[in-house]
């Protein structure tokens, strides 16, 4: 890992350089909400500080779009030709992504690229460089500390390209990949070597940030993981949670670690296409079988499934980590006000056995 210092007054110049070579995405205010959008001018600086800002959607659609064509076909007499959409995607930079979302992308990297490599994901991912901004101050719904999702990325443990750490008038820039180095090299003169005391300051900032999280969900995550793994959560708990679910799929669409999709088919005249689109395990149609039988026809069963996938040790073993990075988006998205912390808290309350002392 290499470290540099970038003065905030130089940021726009660097971004300008980047915009010449890359499509640069950064958080942008669109009416009430914030979204990642391609930059047409300088970035909005208020989204590039240590104060956590979370766009309504994670940037997962840059690597896993809401819908995309898998292939199209055309028929000419006897001949059928299959075409895969252009494999070239524009080289992009994602500026101002928070650590939780960066960890979310790492989760997807492992899931999509290992064990049958998804080249649609891969070609987009290979063309994406991330510039994370660490969170010195979390906001209300955040709980990344208990999910190893932040508030700072750890260069020894996390894979990332660049991380900016807000130090008032400057950023400490941590570079953890060759891709990151490429961005530094756009204008190396803007980046200076950090003074010797900067590392200590960085660590102090991280410590302070970690201490700002509400203790509530933090300490309970472990209990939920253990009980879900052991399948010892009473089914009434899932039913109760399921009753607050509107089947809208919102929590899955806003989740940086939700990756399920459906496949659709279109035919027009002599051609057509097969495409995929985000799907949700919240929907009762997700598992409905041809016979009409549905193994997860009850909302409670679907709820259980979703959180088994996110928290069970069985999946941790498979995916290398839990399927939640603590961004808190599902809390915001859910009309029934059930998010990850609610589930963790409800499981904890339902605990009557020994683990209540934990």
């Amino acid at each position: 890992m290499n470290q540099y210092v970038l003065l905030k007054t130089d940021l726009n110049r660097w971004v300008e350089m980047a915009r010449k070579k890359y499509r640069v995405y950064a958080p942008e205010r669109v009416q009430e909400d914030i979204f990642f959008a391609p930059l047409l001018g300088p970035p909005e600086s208020e989204f590039l500080t240590g104060l956590a800002v979370l766009p309504y959607l994670p940037p997962k659609d840059l690597v896993f779009p809401q819908s995309e064509i898998l292939f199209s076909y055309s028929r000419e007499g006897e001949k059928i030709a299959l075409t895969v959409p252009d494999q070239e995607t524009e080289a992009s930079v994602l500026l101002g992504i928070r650590s939780c979302d960066t960890v979310g992308i790492s989760w997807m990297d492992k899931f999509f690229r290992e064990n049958f490599n998804d080249t649609y994901y891969g070609r987009r991912r290979d063309n994406l460089i991330t510039v994370t901004i660490a969170c010195n101050r979390p906001i209300k719904n955040c709980f990344c500390v208990c999910c190893e999702g932040g508030p700072f990325l750890d260069p020894g443990k996390n894979s990332f390209d660049l991380q900016l750490i807000d130090m008032n008038d400057r950023y400490l820039v941590e570079c953890n990949s060759d891709q990151g180095e490429t961005l530094i090299n756009l204008d190396p003169a803007l980046f200076s070597a950090p003074p010797p005391d900067m590392e200590a300051m960085r660590n102090r900032l991280e410590e302070e940030a970690r201490s700002m999280f509400l203790p509530e969900p933090t300490s309970y995550m472990g209990t939920a993981i253990r009980r879900i793994t052991a399948d010892s959560v009473p089914s009434e708990v899932w039913t109760e949670l399921g009753e607050r679910c509107f089947d809208d799929g919102g929590c899955t669409f806003v989740c940086p670690c939700c990756s399920c999709f459906g496949v659709g088919y279109l035919a027009h005249g002599s051609g057509g296409c097969h495409y995929r689109f985000w799907d949700s395990c919240d929907y009762s149609g997700f598992t409905r079988e041809v016979s009409g039988h549905n193994p997860r026809g009850e909302k409670g069963e679907r709820f259980k499934r979703r959180f088994f996938h996110k928290l069970s040790y069985q999946y941790v073993k498979k995916d290398g980590r839990i399927g939640c990075v603590g961004c808190g988006r599902c809390i915001t998205a859910c009309p029934g006000e059930v998010g990850m912390p609610t589930v963790v808290e409800t499981i904890r309350r339902s605990d009557t056995g020994d683990s209540s002392k934990e």
């Binding site: 899931f111 097969h274 073993k317």
Partner: protein, 276 residues
């Protein structure tokens, strides 16, 4: 790099009517290179697409020793299967796969084998029965018990006749409801268990068919003394991708498309949902 979602084109070579709602499609990959390298194991499945209409999983039903001429047996039940039934020889479909774990073969050499098939559950088992008959001396007793709803629902009628006359295969069949031309057994497949002289010792049982039949057959086999690890069946789940990505077929942390579709009853019992 292989594109896991892009099918190979395959030409329909033969179509055989098995029953009023079931047909067997002999297929050949159009691309010569793909055709020559195509291999599969018993119990694996293909994702077959009618372009622009849809794609669905189907168990390979043919002998893996002859991968150049593979076939699948398909019952018309919905949009994709109906569209497939409307095709003719010469028509083109998309084929991805083979996917899935498949049945054990080398692992069970030297053992006795019992097949319990219900209706359209026979095709996937056939991909195991045929190579076993090719290597007959490497297995102990081979017994096939097959049940269908009516005589009209029996698939592979010609092949069934051959199995009936084979010296080294013990074959029995039954139908739930007979008709005027039927003089054989009547009753669900488990009703022929008592007269079948089933060998339990050193036997692996393969069970395939509709969910209700699988449940009763497994209960009966357990009662006869089969260990759960020696009862092997397949799970059907709604599937979209076949390669562990779309999430549709997950049960607990297992994916039917990757970790299955073949599971022993012992493995099924460990899943967090009731599956049979």
């Amino acid at each position: 790099m292989t594109n896991i979602y892009l099918p190979h084109l395959a030409r329909i070579i033969t179509i055989q009517d098995d029953t009023y709602d079931t047909k067997t499609f002999g297929l050949e990959l159009v691309d010569a290179e793909a055709r020559n390298t195509f291999r599969f194991r018993p119990g694996q499945f293909l994702e077959i697409a009618v372009l622009g209409v849809g794609e669905a999983p189907f168990g390979l039903a043919s002998n893996p020793n002859h991968p150049e001429a593979f076939f699948v047996t398909i019952r018309a039940v919905g949009s994709v299967t109906d569209a497939l039934h409307k095709l003719s020889p010469g028509d083109i479909v998309g084929v991805r796969g083979p996917f899935g774990n498949g049945f054990p073969f080398d692992e069970i050499k030297g053992k006795n084998v019992l097949f319990v098939a219900g209706g359209i559950g026979l095709p996937p088992l056939r991909s195991l029965i045929e190579p076993m008959l090719d290597a007959r001396s490497e297995f102990g007793d081979v017994q096939i018990l097959y049940g269908a709803r009516s005589p009209a629902d029996l698939v592979y009628k010609n092949r069934l006749k051959e199995w009936e006359t084979m010296q080294d295969v013990r074959f029995m069949m039954t139908v739930d409801v007979g008709d005027s031309g039927w003089s054989g057994n009547v009753g669900v497949v488990t009703t022929i268990f008592p007269k079948a002289d089933i060998i339990v010792d050193n036997t692996v049982a393969f069970v395939c068919g509709p969910p209700i039949m699988i449940r009763f057959a497994i209960m009966e086999l357990l009662r006869l003394g089969f260990a759960p690890a020696n009862i092997i069946s397949t799970l059907e789940r709604y599937m979209k991708c076949g390669v562990g990505k779309c999430g549709h077929c997950a049960i607990g942390h297992k994916y039917v498309c990757l970790d299955g579709p073949v599971f022993s009853y012992r493995e099924m019992m460990k899943l967090p949902e009731r599956v049979v």
